[in-house]
Amino acid sequence: MSGSIVWVATPKEASRSSGFNQFVGVTRRWWRSSSAGWSCARSASTARRSVSASLVVTPPRSSEELVYDVVLRQAALVGDARRKRAVEAPPAPLRGDLLDAAYERCGEVCAEYAKTFYLGTMLMTPERRRAIWAIYVWCRRTDELVDGPNASHITPTALDRWSNRLEDLFAGRPYDMYDAALSDTVSKFPVDMQPFKDMVEGMRMDLRKSRYKNFDELYLYCYYVAGTVGLMSVPVMGIAPDSKASAESVYGAALALGIANQLTNILRDVGEDSRRGRVYLPQDELAQAGLSDDDVFEGRVTDKWRTFMKGQITRARMFFDEAEKGIYELNSASRWPVLASLLLYRQILDAIEANDYNNFTKRAYVGKAKKLASLPIAYAKAVIVGPSKFAGTL
């Protein structure tokens, strides 16, 4: 996590503590569902007391720190997962050809909704490709629950039911064919359930929040909707056996890639989001730059806006740089596709700059030629740069 956050002056205590209450809820759930790998061996009841004690004694933790706890947990589970797999009962088998048909459908859905991403998956090995498709479809379906055509009818009960389905499929009892594909994936790869649950939590958050007071809140949101995807896919991509870097750093880099992707999305879609009444930019940073929500809704590119955007883009680029370091620690077959996706997404930031920071009316688009050119560059980098030879270089 080397210098990855550009910290704006710390915001008011009141807003921090309100954010903190959210985090408490999140961490409480983690502690309750913690498994043997959790280093912080506290029981749920004492956790509550110690949390209230810490309210008095220690300063509130930032979302960055709390998210990093998840990263630590994921890394710790990597070793446990291998041991656990032998003991667990095998999941209820789905008829062979039905499973293949399910995976194929996942691929079709992926190709339909995310063409560039689909092309990226073509660079992976067939097993990994199918696994990533299954994860993508689950994430997409979850997102459509709150953001799709029927989102107006979604209730908290519906999200709870969706969470229950998630738990069932991890236990080998998938509900429908797409769940079955994901269930098969999590039985073949050591994928943990926590990022999935966090994503559902992020969806709950999106239902009620349309403004973010500071980068801390925005960071948590980005973690929920995009950082989790990075954590989900590291077990599928696999860490190189000869990598000396710690599992934490690889997971941390994957998290950074997710955050970078989400920040890029936000910066690209400012106009689109504002037309739906949503502003995904930190309010305090907007105020610091002399801007307000009204300026965002108005949609005029001023010098203040340009300065503000420059800062935001710089921060997103820092996340990309941090993520790139971790990609070289991945399995050799997985480095190319992940690097390619990083390069492609980073080019969107260049496109925003080329549009003179007009993300209100112009769509920051990376042309096909540029996209194709990134592939050999990514390949070269993936082959030439290998995993770090020394521990602690990340």
């Binding site: 789905l94 048909a101 379906r141 055509p149 029927n150 998938p174 509900y175 429908d176 079955a180």
Partner: protein, 317 residues
């Protein structure tokens, strides 16, 4: 609904806050006697029904009166019914519309589930229900008077179009000059083409009008084909991509067979010579035996953008 219709013809009571949503209103109030005189019969009948009616009105009057009081609302509009809704403020109307649309949405889902139970029960009791037409929706053709298109129909459509085009080309290219058809006036540039292609000069004898007719027909038919293909593509786009328009996904619990095999351990020590009995099967609880479960994206409508008007597809078809 007759009595409620008559009640509605009574003049509306001027504004009372809790009465806003109820078209019928509180009949027990003192009415201006002049009005009652004009409709003596209606008033008497109305009063008789009103006492039972007003009690239901009263119980439902607080807040959600409109929603809990469907018998107060008649689908046939009279002059006063329109007035009642016109009394609402703009925001109220919007709120009402929103709450009703929400209710429709929820009711459709209940109907779907009820229908599933109906099918199960009628199957159990051996009652033959009427077949419901619920296969994939047909795409109405853009061309008037032509039958609707389906993806299976499309192949025949292609075949018909191509054979028509082939037939017209053969007609214009071979039949017409052979028969020396002359349908009108025309030029002779085709002769040069024929001469340059070193084909028998007989072929150049095609009448230009024949040639233009066949050319035009080919053009029109290919244009129409393109229109229909675009139409199909457009309709396909409206389909839910997850369930491909069927509204359902294969149930994973029973592998879309609808039945769960109950496994029981069989002792082989005593009576081990007996052949194994076939395993008992039970209806899958996940999908209620249909082998399919609801697609959560389109909510069984099969449409990419489901609205509350979209009929919900039954799983048993």
């Amino acid at each position: 609904m007759l009595c409620s219709g008559r009640i509605l013809t009574l003049p509306p009571i001027p504004r009372h806050p809790s009465w806003r949503f109820t078209p019928a209103g509180r009949i027990g109030r003192p009415q201006p006697p002049a009005i009652l005189k004009w409709r003596p019969m209606a008033a008497r009948d109305a009063d008789a029904a009103a006492s039972s009616f007003s009690s239901s009105v009263d119980t439902a009057a607080a807040g959600d009166s409109a929603e809990k009081n469907p018998s107060g609302f008649c689908i046939i509009e009279g002059p006063e019914t329109v007035q009642d809704f016109a009394k609402m403020e703009f925001q109220e109307i919007q709120d009402n519309i929103r709450s009703r649309r929400n209710k429709i949405f929820l009711h459709m889902e209940e109907v779907r589930r009820l229908r599933i139970q109906q099918r199960i029960k009628s199957a159990e009791q051996g009652i033959l229900g009427e077949r419901q037409e619920n296969e994939l929706p047909d795409f109405p053709s853009f061309i008037p008077f032509l039958p609707p298109l389906t993806p299976s129909n499309l192949k025949m459509y292609y075949a018909t179009c191509f054979s028509l085009i082939g037939g017209i080309i053969i007609f214009g290219g071979l039949l017409a000059p052979t028969l020396e058809l002359k349908l009108g006036l025309g030029g002779t540039s085709y002769a040069d083409f024929i001469r340059s292609m070193h084909l028998p000069m007989q072929l150049s004898q095609v009448d230009p009008i024949v040639a233009s007719f066949s050319g035009g027909a080919v053009g029109v038919i290919s244009a129409l084909m393109v229109v229909e293909i675009n139409n199909v593509k457009q309709q396909e786009q409206k389909r839910c991509k997850y369930c491909l328009g069927t509204g359902y996904l294969a149930c994973a619990r029973c592998s879309s067979t609808g039945t769960l095999v109950l496994t029981e351990p069989v002792a082989t020590i005593n009576g081990g010579d007996q052949p194994l009995s076939p395993p008992r099967t039970d209806r899958c609880s996940n999908c209620s035996g249909s082998g399919k479960v609801m697609c959560p994206t389109c909510l069984c409508t099969g449409m990419a953008m489901a609205s509350e008007h979209d009929p919900r597809i039954d799983p048993f078809d």
